[in-house]
Every structure is written in structure tokens, then in C-alpha cells.
């Protein structure tokens, strides 16, 4: 097997050699360029990052997100899918058999045709990088100064000088300035000399930084009607919102997670994102729970309040809708909610299916009821497919325009 030294042997007309290839790096270098190009494309179209909330891996205390990206390819002219292809099988195939099933005939499987550059790589980035690619200039709208319970935190700011300190913090520039000053005072010429007694050091100040305190109340419909798409959309929308706001307001943001079906429970963050589904739907239970939590732990005098509700909007009880409207109005009037975000997640195909089967439900009825609330702080949105998520988050967290809207 392999041994370490190089050799070169002539064998008649032929030749055998073995050299050191350690410096041969063209492949990885060109692949690095390819990754760079993939990253640029991802920046323009970050949908792949958005749907990747599941892939957080803690490493060195930093969270990493791995986004699968397609390999780039050169657009060489290719025949269309109308061409005839040749397949090889085991002899049992008959005319009309499906060989490669799937959307647009692009199935996987051993009998798939040659993959023309259809590979995937995983691009790694930190959560911070992902957030900066996805969202810009968002924040909690309508933030107000509320009460005395603001979170104080210290931040270290290197903005002053002292005569004492560690050598590693030596401020060379000002030390020289001091040396020149002393020299001039004594009337000496020549280059200034630094002496150990008169050095200047950089030092820090504990700066008190405040964030206005706010509580985000996430309410999630986990009833049986919330299917896979609805569940995933909720998780993605809520997760990125939480992350972004935590990054932007590292000190001031509290979170409350409520899951509801027929009844509502406050749950941990982890449970919120993992909760399965069951039960019927009583929307008002979530709003009641939310108010309960706000009244007991997050009084509006001390907290900015941001409730969000993720649901498919299929409520089964007309009376309950009216109740919800009353509860939301209470949130605005009694608890001075800064915003109420209502997210209706509906998959058009499912709606069509229900209609076609005459299944009795009233889609969007809660939404209709909530529309009657004419408060500019009531924001409603829908998610019909994953591309809708990012614009919705931007709508909720748009800071500039809200300042004008807040009455």
C-alpha cells in the first residue's frame, strides 16, 4: 500500500512515477468560488434559508444553519422533455409502465437518467448571518416608554483613558502625546521617550443600555384542522420572528407561548414548536388565556404588548367569533396592546377539497369578524404558501410606517 516517498521509474517506453501532490488545490479553490456564487444567489432569494428552521446545530456556542442549495450549472442547450429516452431494466417492463414517477417526470430512483449537474450542497451560516440576509430594518412597531420596570444591562464601551492599566491596553498614541507634552514643558528637544510612570491606557466604562420591555404573546392553533403545511408555516413564521426580535432587542423581549385547540394552555417555547395536533377549535380560549397571562404577569403599564395568533381560521362556532372580537377589543382598550397580529394560514388546495366534498366549515369567518375592529394596530395577514411568510413578517415588524399609523 501507500508509502511516503516519491519515485520515478522508466520501464521501456513506459514510465511509472509518484509525486507529492500536496500543493494541488485547484478543485477546492474552484469549488470555493462556486460556493461564493451560491451564497450570492441565496441573498437574492433567501427562501431556502427561511424554511430551514430545523437545522440549528450548536457548535462553539454559535448556532449554525445549514441550507441546502442546488449546484449551479452552465446553461448549455438541452433537449426538452419531449425527447425519447432509453431505459434499462430487468426485463419485466411493459408498455405504459411508469418508470420515473413524480412531478414533471423528475423522480428519484435508480432508473433516473443521468443527473446533469443536479447536486445539492449544504451552505453553512450562523443564525446571525441568516437573519441579516433575510430581514433588514425591522423592529417592534409602536414601542412606547412604559413604566419603571425597564431592563438594565451593562455593556462594555471602550471610550476613555486612565493613567493606570494593563500593558495590553496601552494607548500608544496618547502615551506619546503625553511624552511630547512633558518634554516640551521641560524644554527638551529630540524624540520623546516613553517612561513607565506617565503612560496612558485605554479603559472602559460600564454603559447602561436599555431596551424597552416588551412581551410577545404567541398563540397557536393546534386543532386537528391544522395540517402539515399549516403547522410548518406557523413554526417558520413564529420562529424567525422570535429570533429576529431577540437579536434586535437582546435585553428587553419576553415571550409567552400559548397553544390552543378546544382549550388553551401556556406552554414552554420548546413545546410550542413541537406540539402535535388534536381536538376541535375554540379560538376564544386562546385569547382568554392570553389576557389572563397579561393581566397576571405583564401589566401594560410596564410592558409593550404584542400578541400574535396563528391559525387556519376554521372556527366552528359563530358565537365564538363574536366573543373573540370582544376579547381583542379588550386587549386594545384595557391592555393597550401595541399591535395584534392575526395570521390565517390556508392552503388553497385544501379549501378546494373541502368545497368539492361539501364539508361544512366556514373558512375565514374569524377573519371576517376581526375585520370589523377598526384599529390601525390590528394587522391581519394570510399565508397561502411559504413565499408569503417573509413579506408577512416584514409587514408586522415594519417600524417606519407604524409611527404614522399609531393614533
Amino acid at each position: 500500500m501507500a508509502n511516503e516517498f516519491e519515485y520515478s521509474i522508466a520501464l521501456g517506453d513506459d514510465h511509472l512515477s509518484r509525486r507529492n501532490w500536496d500543493l494541488q488545490r485547484k478543485g477546492p479553490i474552484d469549488q470555493a468560488r462556486h460556493k461564493q456564487l451560491q451564497r450570492e444567489i441565496l441573498k437574492k432569494d433567501p427562501g431556502g434559508i427561511l424554511t430551514n428552521i430545523g437545522n440549528i446545530i450548536t457548535s462553539n456556542g454559535k448556532r449554525l444553519i445549514r441550507v441546502p442549495v442546488k449546484s449551479l450549472d452552465l446553461p448549455t442547450p438541452e433537449r426538452g422533455a419531449g425527447r425519447r429516452r432509453i431505459g434499462a431494466g430487468d426485463g419485466s417492463e411493459k408498455e405504459g409502465d411508469v418508470i420515473i414517477p413524480g412531478e414533471k417526470g423528475q423522480g428519484k430512483g435508480k432508473k433516473a437518467g443521468q443527473g446533469e449537474g443536479e447536486g445539492y450542497q449544504e451552505l453553512e451560516m450562523t443564525e446571525d448571518e441568516a437573519l441579516s440576509i433575510l430581514f433588514e430594518n425591522l423592529g417592534l412597531p409602536n414601542l412606547e416608554d412604559r413604566g419603571t420596570e425597564q431592563i438594565h444591562d451593562t455593556e462594555v464601551v471602550w471610550n476613555s483613558r486612565s493613567d493606570k492599566g494593563l500593558m495590553s491596553n496601552l494607548d500608544i498614541r496618547h502615551s506619546f502625546i503625553e511624552a511630547i507634552r512633558r518634554q516640551k514643558l521641560r524644554g527638551r528637544d529630540g524624540p520623546p521617550k516613553l517612561d513607565g510612570d506617565h503612560l496612558k491606557f485605554k479603559t472602559w466604562e460600564d454603559k447602561i443600555v436599555e431596551d424597552k420591555s416588551a412581551v410577545l404573546v404567541f398563540k397557536r392553533d393546534v386543532s386537528a384542522s391544522m395540517g402539515d403545511f399549516e403547522r410548518d408555516a406557523t413554526r417558520i413564521a413564529a420562529a424567525w420572528k422570535v429570533r429576529y426580535l431577540r437579536k434586535k432587542y437582546p435585553r428587553g423581549v419576553h415571550t409567552v407561548f400559548i397553544a390552543h385547540h378546544w382549550t388553551a394552555d401556556e406552554v414552554s417555547e420548546e413545546e410550542f414548536f413541537k406540539h402535535g395536533r388534536s381536538g376541535g377549535t375554540l379560538m376564544s380560549s386562546a385569547y382568554e388565556k392570553a389576557i389572563e397571562v397579561i393581566e397576571s404577569r405583564f401589566p401594560w403599564q410596564n410592558f409593550n404588548i404584542y400578541p400574535f395568533h396563528y391559525t387556519d381560521g376554521y372556527s366552528y362556532d359563530e358565537g365564538d367569533d363574536a366573543k373573540c372580537v370582544r376579547l381583542v377589543t379588550r386587549m386594545f382598550e384595557e391592555h393597550h396592546a401595541n399591535l395584534f397580529g392575526y395570521v390565517e394560514i390556508s392552503n388553497p388546495a385544501v379549501i378546494a377539497m373541502y368545497k368539492a366534498n361539501n364539508i361544512n366549515f366556514q373558512e375565514g369567518r374569524l377573519a371576517e369578524a376581526l375585520k370589523t375592529i377598526s384599529n390601525p394596530r390590528m394587522i391581519m395577514g394570510t399565508i397561502g404558501s411559504f413565499p408569503d411568510i417573509k413579506p408577512l413578517i416584514e409587514k408586522f415588524l415594519a417600524v417606519e410606517s407604524r409611527k404614522i399609523a399609531a393614533a
Binding site: M1, A2, N3, I9, L11, G12, D13, D14, H15, S17, R18, R19, W21, Q24, K26, G27, P28, I29, D30, Q31, R33, H34, S71, D73, L74, T76, P77, E78, R79, G80, A81, G82, R84, R85, I86, G87, A88, G89, G91, E93, K94, E95, G96, D97, V98, I100, P101, G102, K104, G105, G107, K111, G113, Q114, G117, G119, A349, M353, A356, N357
Partner: protein
């Protein structure tokens, strides 16, 4: 020298002797034992010293993933030069290297003797290195990004050429234009003064006829080599034109190998089996069965067009030809009789000793896999490989036919023009609208032939980048259309249909947004 090196050298000497004894005559070959990353790299670039580009990085990464995960090992890589270079994985064990070395020598023999490689540049490695230097110089002078943009465009177009063209050494844009001019002059002369066998007598003593200026369309007829045409006629800077000629030169060097893949891999497999057997006999070693198994096992993933494994198919063809030549029945064949594609029984005696079935002659004279299959594929082989044709009904690929003739025709048809649509600049296409716009026509080959619309839309901006003015492409385009329909139980689902129509797509900018489409009446 350690035991293993000594043995590898010994194998090379032995195998060389054995294959020479069989009648093979390869170029002198330099074997290099290399780490597997180097093989992946050589496979990605095709030849050492080739220019940097991200597409090579993509291929390198793919080969590396396949190799590291055991999905497809590359045992060897042979460069078509004189002397030839062969890269072998240093981690191969001795048993494997016996097979690999014999395989390599047969490859080199094929490169030396096959018609498609006559005039191939035997010093291509040196040429590629020099070309790489030139490209690096341009990157340094004009910027990496500028070079990359031109390369992106040139590499996308590189296979738009005449499939019948033979390999040639690098020519400059100037030389190419001079050759085109000469062709034009000859045609003009032929039109104005049609030649006859008595021209040399008639012209004696006659005054020279005046040359008549005649406006001719540009180009004068179908121009198939898009890259060289652009190198001559586009408004690019000289260095950019040089880049095009380099890309064209490298592409045509590789095309010889692409169009003889089945021939070559089959040839190498045919001989490595025999060489191993001979080697074992010499060493009094009775393990030939292991080699046959190893041969079948290796290179499973090197799928060529459409699921045809060139090693297996090529080998089967060569074996079939050889045993017919020598009058031997096929082992384990279903019957003693053979039938041709028309269903007529074949008289086996006409193959015996027939020079058309002499494998050494075939190796020299058959220039392409298409010709190989057209002439030597049999219904029996089609059945043995369980082949079938398949078509897309909009949603799935379904089996269309198991008729051997249709399959053979489908195979050959799929290989025309390297499996790509044929794009030409027709007569007058370089001055479309009399405003210097470029018009390209897709020459459709059979009614199923069409271009992938999505992909061609990405292709057009590259053409625009090279031409500088609006570029048009007329042809048959195919794409999938999605519809939502209600199924038999009232459930909606998405379905697709395959849409095919004749369009002209025009591009007047460097992005996909600058593209417009128009139906052709």
C-alpha cells in the same frame, strides 16, 4: 524500492508485453500513482493544467461525494496525448491495478488508432497549460470577474458545433476567418465560372476575368460552430476572442472522447479481461473468475446517455463481433439462431473471417458510438440489456416500446449531435433585420425533438453578452405546464402536461428579464 512499487512496475512491464502480444499498439504511457482527490480533480478538469472555473469545482465536488460515499469510484483517468498520461489511485490494491493497467493500455491503443483521433493534438497537455497561462494573464490584466463572465458564456456554447468536425490544432480567429473567406471565394468562383475538366487548357492565353463584386448573405450558409463564428465576427475585444478560441479548441479535443465512449470503454474492457487471463495463466494462477466479477463491478455509475453503461454495452458489442468473426457460438444464448432487426434470420457464416467484423479494423475505422451501434447492435443484445424506450406524458416517464428496432433507432437518434439540439446560424443570420442582429435556428431532428424552454432562456443572455446586439433563436421549445384538476373523488391535485411549440425567443440584454417570446406561425 518497496515490494509494492516493484510489483506495480512489474505489472506494467508484463501487461505491456501481453497486450502487445495480442496486437495492441499504444503510445508510450506515463503512469502516475496519485491520491484520490487528484483523480477527482483530473476527472473534473479533463486534462491537467486546464483553466480555473467554478464549473470544474462543481464537478470536482460531485466526483468527490460520489467517490467518498462509495457510489462511484474512479479507478483511472487516461489523457489522450503522446506520450499518454494515466492517473491511477494510489490506494488501489495490487489486484485492482492489474486490471486497471491493462485497461489503460487498451485505452491508449484506441486513442492512437481510432479515426476520430487522427489529427488530435498529441501535445494537448502542453497546449492546455499554455492556454491556461494566457487566460491567467487576462484575468490579471482585465480582472477575474471579467474573465469569468466570458468563460461562462463560452463554456455554455462550447458544444454548439458541427458533430462531423475532426479534431484540429488551435487556430486563431484570424486563421478561421481566412479559411471562411477562402471558402467564400471558392464558392463565388464556382458560381461565376463553373469549373470543368478542361479549365486548365481553356485558361491558357486568356486574360484574367475580372472579379465581380457580389453581395453575399452573412453567413453564406449554415454556420454550425457558434464559438468560432463569434470569435471572428462579434464585436468583442481581442483578448475575449482569444478566450473563445481557447474554449473551442479544448472542447473539440474532448469531443472525440465523448463520441467514442462506448467504443473505447468496451475496447478497454474486452482487452483487460484477456490480459488478466493471460497474466494469470503465466503466473499459474486460477483466479480469473474474480477478474470478471471485478470488471462487472467497477464503474457502475459512469452512465452515459440514458442509462446505457458504456463498459457493459461496449464490451458486449465487441465480444459479439469477435465471436461472430471467429465463428463461435455465444455462451448461454437462448438459441443458436440470430435474427436481425427486420426479423429475418441471420446467416452466421457470413461473419466468419469477414474483414468488416475484424475488431482491429473496427477499432481503427468506426469513428463514433452511433456508427458502432448502427452497424453492430443486434436485437439479441437489446433484449439482453432489457432496454426499452420511454417518453414523458407530462407527469411521468413511461415505457413506450420494447421493439428492438425502435430501441436501436432511439439510441442512435439520442446520440446525434452529442444529444444536444442542433443550433445553426442560417444564411444571412448574422445580419438579421439588416441591423446586425443575430438569428439562430434550431434544426429539428424528428418530431419529438425540442429544446428545454427554461434552460434556453438562461442560455440566451450569454449569447447576447458575446454578440452585443439582439439575439434571436427560432425553434421548437418544450416545457411543463401545471394545472390543478379535480380528481375522480373530488380531490384537487396538480397535474402537468408537456407543451411543445415553435417560438422565436429574442434577447436584448444580459438578464433573463430581457427576453421576449413570439409564436411562429
Amino acid at each position: 524500492m518497496s515490494l509494492s512499487e516493484q510489483t506495480e512496475s512489474q505489472i506494467i512491464v508484463d501487461m505491456k508485453r501481453i497486450v502487445t502480444g495480442f496486437g495492441l499498439d499504444p503510445y508510450p504511457t506515463h503512469f502516475e500513482l496519485v491520491p484520490k482527490e487528484v483523480i477527482y480533480e483530473m476527472a473534473a478538469y479533463g486534462i491537467p493544467g486546464r483553466m480555473s472555473h467554478w464549473i470544474h469545482g462543481v464537478r470536482f465536488d460531485q466526483f468527490k461525494s460520489q467517490g467518498d460515499y462509495g457510489l462511484g469510484k474512479i479507478f483511472e483517468l487516461v489523457i489522450n496525448t503522446d506520450p499518454s498520461y494515466a492517473f491511477i489511485q494510489e490506494s488501489n490494491d495490487l489486484a485492482t491495478n492489474k486490471l486497471v493497467i491493462a485497461h489503460v493500455l487498451a485505452h491508449v491503443d484506441f486513442f492512437k488508432h481510432n479515426a476520430s483521433f487522427q489529427n488530435s493534438n498529441t501535445k494537448m497537455m502542453d497546449s492546455a497549460a499554455l492556454q491556461g497561462d494566457r487566460l491567467r494573464k487576462y484575468a490579471f490584466e482585465k480582472g477575474d470577474l471579467e474573465l469569468e463572465k466570458i468563460l461562462d458564456a463560452a463554456l455554455s456554447i462550447e458544444d454548439c458545433t458541427d458533430e462531423k468536425e475532426n479534431p484540429r490544432k488551435w487556430i486563431s480567429a484570424q486563421e478561421y476567418r481566412d479559411a471562411q473567406r477562402q471558402k467564400f471565394k471558392d464558392r463565388q468562383k464556382q458560381k461565376l465560372h463553373p469549373s470543368s475538366p478542361y479549365d486548365d487548357i481553356l485558361e491558357l492565353g486568356e486574360e484574367k476575368k475580372p472579379e465581380i463584386f457580389e453581395r453575399a448573405p452573412h453567413p453564406i450558409d449554415d454556420e454550425k460552430n457558434l464559438l468560432m463564428f463569434l470569435a471572428v465576427h462579434s464585436p468583442l475585444e481581442d483578448w475575449q476572442k482569444d478566450v473563445l478560441t481557447i474554449v473551442d479548441n479544448q472542447a473539440q479535443y474532448f469531443r472525440s472522447q465523448i463520441k467514442t465512449k462506448i467504443l473505447n470503454e468496451g475496447w478497454a474492457s474486452f482487452w483487460h479481461i484477456r490480459a488478466l487471463r493471460a497474466h494469470d495463466e503465466e503466473a499459474d494462477n486460477a483466479s480469473s473468475d474474480f477478474w470478471r466479477w471485478a470488471q462487472l463491478h467497477c464503474n457502475v455509475t459512469a452512465a452515459h446517455l440514458d442509462n446505457i453503461n458504456p463498459y457493459a454495452m461496449g464490451l458486449a458489442l465487441w465480444e459479439d463481433i469477435d465471436r461472430k468473426f471467429r465463428g463461435e457460438p455465444l455462451n448461454g444464448s437462448r438459441s443458436e439462431r440470430e435474427y436481425d432487426f427486420e426479423g429475418n434470420e441471420v446467416d452466421m457464416s457470413r461473419f466468419v473471417g469477414n474483414p468488416t467484423y475484424d475488431i482491429f479494423r473496427i477499432r481503427a475505422e468506426i469513428p463514433t458510438d452511433q456508427a458502432f451501434l448502427r452497424n453492430f447492435l443486434t436485437p439479441e443484445l437489446v433484449r439482453r440489456f432489457n432496454l426499452f424506450t420511454m417518453v414523458n406524458n407530462g407527469n411521468d416517464w413511461v415505457v413506450e416500446s420494447k421493439d428492438p428496432k425502435k430501441i436501436r433507432d432511439g439510441l442512435v437518434e439520442g446520440m446525434t449531435n452529442f444529444g444536444k439540439p442542433l443550433l445553426v446560424i442560417p444564411e444571412g443570420g448574422a445580419d438579421y433585420n439588416l441591423s446586425g442582429e443575430l438569428y439562430i435556428t434550431h434544426r429539428q431532428d424528428g418530431d419529438r425533438d425540442g429544446m428545454d424552454l427554461k434552460r434556453m432562456r438562461e442560455f440566451m443572455p450569454h449569447l447576447y453578452r458575446l454578440w452585443g446586439k439582439t439575439v434571436h433563436l427560432e425553434g421548437t421549445f418544450q416545457e411543463f405546464e401545471q394545472k390543478t384538476v379535480t380528481g375522480p373523488w373530488g380531490f384537487p391535485f396538480a397535474t402537468h402536461s408537456l407543451h411543445s411549440e415553435r417560438l422565436i425567443i429574442s434577447c436584448s440584454g444580459e438578464s433573463v428579464n430581457d427576453i421576449s417570446e413570439k409564436l411562429v406561425a
